[in-house]
């Protein structure tokens, strides 16, 4: 029994069909409960007022925006090394999800920043690296659409993914090694185990983070299945010589 057996599209689709119902229900539960808990069940922050409630959208979205790119990096590397089609199709499937997460993080950050910082936008290291990450997502999706041969597209998008990983890393760690700019430190520093958020805000935040993570997984599995079916349809059409 090896993980590589799921490089077989049939086995991948079979496993995916079994896992997805659980993932969708768990994701829906965590996101809805987490957001309701955060919106209705938490007090205002003494400095930020009610804008603290934006954290339940902003932090999970930013977390998934970065981790989606890391997931794409791993699956792209698997494609480059082992040439498993399912792997690169999973990266292709994850890109629009990661891009939407990046947009949510940027929009909610701007809406929060206007009353708190007095500006919608600042050329701060973390904000700028996030904007560049968004542009990499756009470029990645555009490159897939621009190249007709699927294997060439897979090769070139995988290389773009490697380059973009620099900005994903910058987005993740910019607040730690750049002590400049407006963006505050990370809310949940995983490496140190400490946190700057009190319990009353932390637990609904964790619920939302888990929910966004499960939603990402459910969406990527579903979208990868779609990409496999589209590839199979194109292959059957090509084999039939355009008669189908």
């Amino acid at each position: 029994m090896s993980i590589w057996q799921y490089a077989n599209p049939v086995k991948f689709l079979s496993l995916s069909a079994k896992v997805q119902p659980v993932l969708w229900v768990a994701a829906g539960f965590c996101v809805v409960v987490g957001l309701i808990w955060g919106f209705f069940g938490t007090p205002d922050d003494f400095r930020q007022g009610s804008t603290v409630k934006i954290i339940y959208l902003h932090v999970p979205a930013a977390l998934m925006a970065i981790n989606a790119w890391f997931m794409m990096l791993i699956t792209s590397l698997i494609w480059l090394v082992r040439r498993h089609h399912v792997s690169v199709l999973a990266a292709k499937a994850a890109a629009p999800v990661g891009m939407v997460m990046t947009v949510i993080a940027l929009v909610t950050g701007a809406i929060w920043g206007q009353p708190m910082w007095g500006t919608w936008w600042a050329w701060d290291p973390r904000l700028t690296s996030f904007l560049i990450l968004f542009l990499f997502y756009l470029g990645y999706i555009a490159l897939w659409e621009a190249i007709e041969d699927p294997d060439t597209a897979a090769d070139l998008t995988s290389i773009l993914c490697l380059v973009g990983s620099v900005f994903a890393v910058l987005s993740r760690y910019a607040v730690q090694f750049w002590n400049q700019g407006l963006h505050q430190g990370t809310s949940v520093p995983v490496a140190t185990g400490g946190r700057t958020v009190s319990d009353v805000f932390f637990y609904p935040l964790v619920m939302c983070m888990v929910g966004f993570g499960l939603l990402f997984l459910a969406l990527v599995l579903y979208r990868t299945g779609t990409e496999i079916r589209l590839r199979r349809t194109a292959a059957l059409r090509a084999r039939a010589g355009g008669n189908v």
């Binding site: 009610s50 959208l57 909610t108 809406i111 939603l215 299945g225 779609t226 349809t233 084999r239 039939a240």
Partner: protein, 52 residues
């Protein structure tokens, strides 16, 4: 029912509204594209079978 959001009500509600719209649109587009792909594959498989 709605908590008192004070002077930041517009900011908080617009952040939630924008995020929910984006997430729902992403899920809707994903499910629609999946259904179209399933139907297209079934159609091609049926035609390939009928062609022998």
């Amino acid at each position: 029912m709605t908590p008192d959001l004070g002077k930041y009500a517009v900011e908080v509600l617009s952040a939630y509204a924008a995020s929910v719209v984006l997430l729902v649109a992403l899920i809707a587009v994903t499910l629609r594209r999946g259904r179209v792909a399933r139907a297209a594959l079934k159609e091609v498989e049926r035609e390939v079978k009928s062609d022998g």
